[in-house]
Symmetry: C2
Subunit: 325 residues, 2 copies
């Protein structure tokens, strides 16, 4: 990253750079990335403000999830060929100590799935639904950004639990994906009509849980549609990442409806990774979870991929990953 965006990021905020990589020392390995993750939360880190994670530094590589293979090893527990997940982000290769890497089981799923359904993305959906919102089997749940990386897993996990799922997105191909592939009960384009009317149609009895990826007008609609004792898991607020949006005018409904609104950061819950994988890995292997991806080829295209990710109308569906050539 060479400059900080104002509003929507542009490709010019980034620059491809070359750097020397030293040989791995004792306990270290050289990893060649195969896939890197681009995620909406990265937009927040591009601002120079204090947040739950430090801001990205100018002149440094964007950090974030990546999966790759050990190509040179000075650490017996990670022999050459091992697949590992790391958080070093947008780079072709890097040297790191074993402790900074997480081995992934390439027999379980293709490597990129460890950035999506079986990775931080899938865990984010699982934590929000079950740990934060305490979703119970058979309840009605609304997922905004339902065709996105986290949203598409949230929709599917909720369906696996027998829930009624209402999902929104911002493009026709995403709505089709939600209906035809994820089999949600009701899908709508949030720019087409009033979200609150869609929610009435999709869940005439009201919604028990709102999985919020967007904030903005959809949060306001969800507050109106919530049933008593409903729960809102605040996962993201993409509607306001680039430009400010008004707050929900009906927030006092939280009182009379006894709602709980709770924000979370997935990394606080990493100790539950085994619990999550115990549910998600067999489901993926059995074909009950679709690991839908939008794959962009070439590290040099990562900036364009990221810029497009933050534009709701663009045709990215599911988890966006960049395949490093």
């Amino acid at each position: 990253m060479v400059s900080r965006p104002k509003g929507e990021p542009v490709a010019e905020n980034f620059q491809l750079a070359e750097a020397e990589i030293a040989d791995p020392q004792a306990g270290e390995v050289l990893v060649r990335n195969e896939y890197i993750s681009v995620d909406p939360y990265m937009r927040g880190r591009m601002n120079d403000v204090k947040s739950y994670v430090p801001a990205f530094e100018l002149g440094k590589a964007m950090t974030g999830g990546a999966v790759g293979r050990v190509v040179q090893s000075n650490e017996p527990t990670l022999p050459v060929g091992t697949y590992v997940m790391s958080m070093f982000g947008w780079r072709e290769a890097f040297v790191a100590p074993a402790v900074a890497l997480q081995r992934v089981d390439a027999c379980l799923a293709p490597p990129s799935a460890f950035l999506g359904t079986l990775g931080v993305t899938g865990m984010t959906a699982w934590v929000g639904l079950f740990k934060v919102a305490a979703l119970k089997d058979g309840e009605a749940v609304f997922v905004s950004g339902g065709a996105g990386a986290v949203g598409s897993i949230a929709c599917q996990l909720a369906k696996l639990h027998g829930c009624r799922v209402i999902a929104s997105a911002g493009a026709a191909d995403k709505i089709a994906f939600l209906k035809d592939e994820l089999k949600v009960d009701y899908a709508f384009n949030y720019r087409d009509g009033e979200p609150v009317e869609h929610l009435k149609q999709g869940a005439p009895g009201g919604i028990d849980v709102y999985f919020d990826n967007t904030g903005g007008p959809q949060l306001e609609a969800a507050l109106s549609a919530m049933r008593e004792r409903g729960r809102i898991a605040m996962c993201g607020a993409i509607a306001g990442y680039c430009t400010p949006v008004p707050g929900p005018r009906n927030l006092p409904l939280v009182i009379g409806k006894r709602l709980r609104v709770e924000g979370y950061i997935v990394s606080d819950h990493f100790r539950d990774l085994p619990l999550f994988l115990a549910e998600a890995a067999p489901a993926l292997k059995a074909g009950k979870l679709v690991n839908r991806e939008t794959v962009v080829a070439g590290l040099d295209n990562a900036p364009e991929a990221f810029v497009s990710l933050l534009r709701s109308g663009d045709g990215h569906i599911g988890k966006m990953v960049v395949k490093v050539d």
Copy 2:
């Protein structure tokens, strides 16, 4: 109530009316009220909309808390002279079955205290602080509407638990009351300067708990001032009861700070009344809780009292009660 207010209520929304009262039947008593309660939540019930409690009916008496004495009894467990709390509201006297009444111990405190510190008002403060917001000894808590009925008890209960208390109000005499009588650590007039700057001064390390009586700009300021893993108990939203106010633009802070925002209705928690009284009654008797009241004389002045209650600048402090002559 003879008409529904638009915006602020006016005295003309009410009318004094006379009605015959039948003699108490078996199991019933005739109660003469001594004090009736006027509360901000009543404004919501004057609208003809579905809410957690039904709307008040036109042409009927306003219901709500009242305390009085049995003056004629056809029920052995409630002899003449017994003090009872009821929810029949704005009337001089009424007949009711024993099951609709709650006996109060007049040795513990003056009768009106059972509408305030030892009644639903005090219980509302206690539930919000300890059951909803899970306030821990020594934390920093901000109470908006701190000089009001619920707020003044919340401030005192928090001080009794060794907390740092920051409180706001809308008039100079209320600020003086907060500082001089309730001994809060920092008090400010929310119309005097930016609330967020006051919160920085009052709690330089941030606030752990926000007890929200107002919503509006103070909620937005509180979100900015919250520490990580802070809790907001939404008790009331008086800022928007008469005229709509914008929602908090910074609500997405809930995510990064892992905040929990939760609304509640005190009646859901009545089973815990003994727990609450076990804390509040000895504290009141020992002089560690001040039951500050604004007493308005005469049932015919109840409408004016209520209208004034909803105007922040007016000089009502603590619990507002109407003394029935």
